[in-house]
């Protein structure tokens, strides 16, 4: 009974790694047809169409029903789904996709380039979050024949950026169910999606469950194996763990369980708890500094705060072995962009922190307090709450009094990104396979006030702006990678935000599942080869 969390997490990590790649050991098994796969669905969304909304809460369902042009394979490289091949013109302004033939929508209509054209111009470019930024310079999609789609850009579009973004931002919707049917956002199809994927939508009872069934006309031969997928809506994470143990749920994606329950299930041979299959969903815990506070505008104070936090201690005692020390805005799982040299790191050194604060003229006053700060933790997860408390506790040790301001999601975004009513904020930065998708906006100046997850720190740096702009239109992959190395080193030197912890979402899945966690964004992928053993 009396087992510390640290020990518990250790053990579970050991077990998790020993059962890693379970499909290898079961390689000889013949896939079994049939069965109902049940999934923990924690955060209901307003709609289910992934062409309109980029979030894991949509992919976990819509990603089985609709498909994208390109997905990532087991090695994290782009692999065609609805597109069979692609080619970029030398000037980077034209990218041509050859589409798969013989694919039909769930309602029987054929899938053609007209669907791609409509989705790209009306959904990705106009509505889809991050899509609007990615496709800002998309001027047209030409359809010379039903199986060719030609994307035309006003400015050069790096092919590897587009291919890395499309797995998330490249889902295609059926034109014939949207065109001329009124406002796209209000279309009832969004809550009963129609796609080309391995599973067909059956039913959505809000607050209770979503059901999809096997698509008998799926274009991949012999796929899928499952009869049905049922997503059970369970908002209480402890309850979700209980249902997994009772056999009512097979799979809880995206760190859907509490840290302690994940550790506990990891020790249970009926389950596999691991980060595998989520490499495409890396995130870093952040500390954002508001430069409008004159103390924080001083680089010495920001560095002192970084030095005051014993990150390895926090990770070891609170997060377990599934988290690791973060090195910068680009996480280490990003094989294409992770730089060899990340620039300055800030190891735990309380003395150095204190002397930096002294140097900045912030001497301790009565009761040892130098100054006070308001910290806004984002309400996204348990680890953020724990980290906020840890920041409060650690900074008190160097004479900085921290007041934690508790908010809900809407209030957090409003107060941090619009009203700038914070001194410190802490949350997650989600890395989306290419720094240009959602990382560089955290650093680039000139972001409109109120735009969430962008540079609203009151910090402007022409040097980093130039690096970011050059990289965004650089078509040579090697030069792009080098530019992002500069970007990381600059970010770590100036420290407008600090990214001290790197985490990958945890998956908890029944040991009966086969062919799972075999791609870097497996939770979001189509599960066409997933099957359940007896």
């Amino acid at each position: 009974m009396d087992m510390t969390r640290r020990a518990a997490l250790r053990t579970s990590a050991a077990i998790a790694s020993s059962v890693l790649f379970p499909m290898r050991s079961f390689g000889q098994e013949t896939p079994r047809r049939g069965g109902v796969f049940t999934v923990h669905y924690g955060a209901e969304q307003r709609q289910l169409n992934p062409s309109l909304q980029a979030s894991t809460g949509v992919y976990i369902i819509g990603g089985k029903i609709q498909e994208q042009l390109v997905d990532l394979d087991a090695k994290g490289q782009p692999v065609g789904v609805l597109a069979e091949s692609w080619e970029a013109a030398p000037d980077g302004r034209t990218i041509t996709f050859k589409l798969r033939s013989g694919v039909t929508w769930h309602d029987g209509k054929p899938f053609t380039s007209a669907d791609v054209q409509f989705t790209a111009m009306e959904m990705w470019k106009k509505i889809l979050n991050y899509g609007t930024t990615l496709q800002l310079f998309l001027t047209a999609v030409d359809t010379p024949d039903p199986l060719t789609a030609v994307f035309r850009y006003e400015r050069p579009m790096p092919l590897n950026l587009l291919l890395r973004a499309l797995p998330d931002l490249g889902y295609v919707s059926p034109r014939h169910l949207y065109e001329g049917k009124g406002d796209i956002r209000q279309n009832p199809v969004n809550l009963a999606p129609v796609g080309t994927g391995p599973f067909r939508f059956v039913q959505y009872e809000r607050g209770q469950h979503v059901i999809a069934e096997r698509n008998p006309n799926y274009w991949r031969a012999n796929a899928p194996y499952l009869d049905r997928i049922v997503w059970r809506v369970v908002t209480d994470r402890a309850a979700a763990a209980a249902q997994m143990e009772a056999g009512q749920i097979h799979y809880s994606p995206f760190s859907g369980l509490t840290i302690s329950d994940s550790a506990r299930l990891g020790k249970d041979p009926r389950f596999i708890v691991s980060t595998k299959g989520n490499e495409g969903n890396a995130r870093t815990n952040t500390i954002e500094f508001n430069f409008r506070r004159k103390e924080l505008a001083d680089i010495r104070v920001r560095r002192a705060i970084a030095h005051a936090l014993d990150i390895p201690f926090f990770i070891e005692n609170f997060l377990g072995d599934f988290a690791k020390r973060g090195t910068g805005p680009i996480p280490s799982v990003s094989t294409d962009f992770y730089p060899a040299d990340n620039g300055p790191q800030y190891p735990f050194d309380k003395k150095l922190a204190a002397s930096l604060l002294d140097e900045a003229g912030l001497k301790p006053g009565a009761g040892g307090t130098r100054f006070s700060l308001r910290l806004l933790p984002a309400p996204w997860g348990e680890d953020i709450t724990l980290f906020a408390t840890f920041i409060q506790q650690s900074l008190a040790d160097v004479g900085i009094k921290v007041e934690i301001v508790r908010t809900d999601g809407g209030g957090y975004l409003k107060q941090v990104y619009d009203e700038h009513a914070f001194d410190l904020a802490t949350g997650w930065h989600q890395y989306r396979n290419d720094p240009a998708v959602s990382t560089t906006v955290w650093y680039r100046s000139g972001q409109p006030k109120g735009a969430p997850w962008t540079n609203q720190w009151g910090w402007t740096d022409p040097a980093i702006d130039k690096i970011i702009d050059d990289a965004a239109t650089e078509v040579d992959p090697a030069r792009r990678k080098a530019l992002y190395g500069d970007f990381v080193r600059r970010a770590n030197t100036e420290l407008p935000i600090w990214t001290p912890i790197e985490q990958i979402f945890l998956t908890a899945i029944s040991a009966k599942a086969r062919n799972h966690s075999n791609t870097p964004r497996w939770g979001s992928s189509s599960w066409h080869d997933l099957w359940l053993a007896e």
Binding site: R6, R237, A238, I259, N317, F318, T389, T407, G411
Partner: protein, 276 residues
């Protein structure tokens, strides 16, 4: 003296008083026994109670000493309970007094407002208030006061309705006393006892409301509140259930103490009220 004697005659009231003294003693000695910040990192997270002599009641999932939080939490609960009750009773008395004294249009208007507050589920209004004004100790306390006044307003109003035509009030009127003087100087002192007794009910509810808010993670995270501890413990409930269980018992004892004392006071005061 008579009152004290009557109060002490009831064993339940005496037990209540003892429990209340216990909670007050915890609040008073918190700094003595646990001089460190109760929210500071004390040790490894999730140490079981009685397994480490340094942490008698163990540590929570943030590595904070549970015993320290229980002691310091007594202050917070009593503070929130006390101040919210004072606010609630003050609003209630003012509105009830004016409604009962003036009657007619003033009464109708004020009772409409009271009715509106009673029709709206009070916890729902509390959620809205906290979402709007934020989760600090001050706003939470005021918000609890704001949602719990209607019953005391009705009580005061009823007392005023029965008192406003009594002889001593009539006498005051003929002497030309101003309304404010009559309301607060003459009638109120006579209308007060049942309202004061009712205050114990308000205080009990106030403490429970704060803990419910904290459980939904909507209370002030910068203070060691029992409700916050229960809310934090929810994440580790399946194995380390003690994190939630211990502060729950503390709340139970406090609310029990307040209720028993209120009940005892009521019983002790009752004969006098009847005599009046």
């Amino acid at each position: 003296m008579d009152l004290v004697k009557r109060y002490l005659r009831s064993p339940a009231a005496v037990i209540g008083l003892l429990l209340l003294v216990l909670v007050l003693a915890m609040a008073a000695t918190a700094d003595l026994f646990y001089p460190r910040d109760p929210l500071a990192l004390a040790g490894r997270p999730l140490i079981w109670p009685f397994s480490n002599p340094r942490f008698l009641l163990g540590t929570d999932n943030s590595g904070r000493d549970i015993a320290a939080q229980i002691f310091h939490g007594a202050r917070i609960s009593l503070l929130i309970g006390g101040v919210a009750t004072a606010i609630s009773i003050m609003i209630g008395i003012t509105i009830g007094a004016f409604a009962g004294y003036y009657g007619a249009f003033v009464d109708t208007a004020l009772m409409r407002v009271t009715e509106a507050f009673q029709t709206l589920p009070n916890f729902l209004l509390l959620l809205v208030l906290v979402a709007v004004f934020g989760s600090t100790l001050t706003t939470v306390t005021i918000a609890i006061g704001i949602v719990s006044w209607p019953a005391s307003a009705r009580l005061t109003r009823a007392e005023f309705l029965s008192l406003r035509n009594r002889e001593f009030v009539q006498a005051g009127r003929t002497l030309g006393l101003r309304d404010a003087r009559l309301i607060f100087g003459e009638i109120l002192p006579n209308a007060l006892p049942p309202v004061i007794v009712y205050a114990s009910v308000v205080m009990a509810i106030a403490i429970l409301l704060e803990s419910a808010l904290a459980f939904l993670k909507l209370s002030d995270p910068n203070v060691a509140s029992w409700g916050n501890l229960i809310g934090a413990g929810r994440d580790v409930l399946r194995v380390q259930w003690y994190v939630s269980a211990i502060p729950g018992i503390a709340i139970l004892i406090t609310v029990l103490a307040v209720s028993l004392v209120g009940q005892g006071l009521n019983d002790a005061l009752n004969p006098r009220l009847k005599r009046r």
